[in-house]
């Protein structure tokens, strides 16, 4: 069936009116009064609504599913944090290794080896001091 332009535009307006997007105006009212197909179309919209509303779905709230989403998000966040830490570690180690390499290129290899030797000796020697400070702190915490 070929529809006139007036009917086409009127039916679009009728859909808008049906879905509360527009108010019924005189132009549309007058058209419906004289046009049988548009009047029928408007009536069919209500019929369609009655039928389509039978298939309305209202699922109940799955609280467990929502809580599960929060848990999953925590796992994702933890993974992201771990990845960030890994990237930071790679960057810092890269920079330090780069610095060592640069010092070697600049002919400071002997100094680096001396520095390492000194560190190897000092760190174990400093352990008793560190343990003493730690135990003093713990003692203080226990007391107060």
């Amino acid at each position: 069936m070929i529809m006139s332009k007036d009917c086409e535009s009127c039916q679009k307006k009728l859909v808008d009116i049906f879905y509360n997007e527009e108010n019924m105006n005189n132009e549309v009212k007058n058209h419906i009064k004289t046009c049988h197909s548009c009047k029928e179309f408007f009536g069919r919209l209500y019929q369609m609504k009655d039928i389509m509303d039978k298939a309305k779905i209202e699922p109940s709230i799955e609280y467990a599913e929502i809580l599960q989403s929060f848990k999953e998000v925590e796992i994702i966040k933890e993974k992201r944090r771990n990845l960030f830490d890994l990237i930071l570690f790679i960057i810092i180690s890269g920079v330090l290794l780069g610095l060592v390499a640069l010092l070697i290129v600049e002919k400071y290899l002997v100094e680096i080896i001396y520095f390492q030797l000194v560190m190897y000796i000092i760190i174990p020697l400093s352990l008793p001091v560190i343990i003493k400070i730690r135990s003093l702190k713990e003692e203080y915490n226990e007391r107060y």
Partner: protein, 177 residues
């Protein structure tokens, strides 16, 4: 009320976000069930939607209803799924409808619902979205245009197309009866 909950949720209040998700859960799930006509796929997308909302709540800019944002996320996820796998299995028994009063009525309703779901499922996805959002959830054209990311005129013509198709299909069904 929703505005206050959104503010709190954006500040990191987990309970507020939980309440927001609870109050909009049925809309999102109902919409997805109507879109996918597939329970398993719906449950997957609902879960992903909730997770995306929790992860991105700080980026959310409240312009309209909170459900509009959730539906937008769900729509984008559904589109992604469609892109990956175009063959979505149509399940007619969604079993989320109200329990009917008697057996006879239940059988009649079941047949009607199956027919309606089939008619809906045969509509093109992008057009079906518009119809479902307008008819079942009463969203305004402007809101739908934001959700489906197209101009209001397109929303209007898509809705009109769906109505024409549904009416045609219904005539066919009535004729067969």
């Amino acid at each position: 009320m929703e505005e206050r909950l959104v503010k709190l949720a954006k500040k990191g209040d987990k309970t507020a976000l939980e309440r927001l998700l609870q109050s909009n859960y049925s809309i999102v799930k109902g919409y997805l069930l109507k879109m996918t006509m597939n329970k398993t796929l719906t449950e997957d997308i609902v879960q992903e939607t909730m997770m995306k909302a929790i992860l991105n709540i700080k980026k959310y800019k409240p312009k309209g209803k909170f459900s509009t944002w959730l539906i937008t996320i769900a729509t984008n996820l559904y589109r992604d799924k469609l892109r990956k796998d175009k063959r979505i299995i149509f399940e007619n028994d969604l079993s989320y409808h109200e329990v009917p009063k008697n057996l006879e009525q239940s059988v009649i309703d079941k047949i009607d619902i199956e027919k309606i779901n089939k008619i809906l499922f045969e509509l093109p996805d992008e057009k079906r979205m518009v119809f479902i959002l307008k008819h079942y959830y009463g969203y305004q054209y402007k809101e739908i245009s934001e959700i489906v990311k197209c101009p209001i005129g397109t929303v209007r013509s898509r809705l009109h197309y769906c109505i024409k198709q549904i009416q045609l299909q219904m005539e066919g069904v009535n004729d067969n009866e």
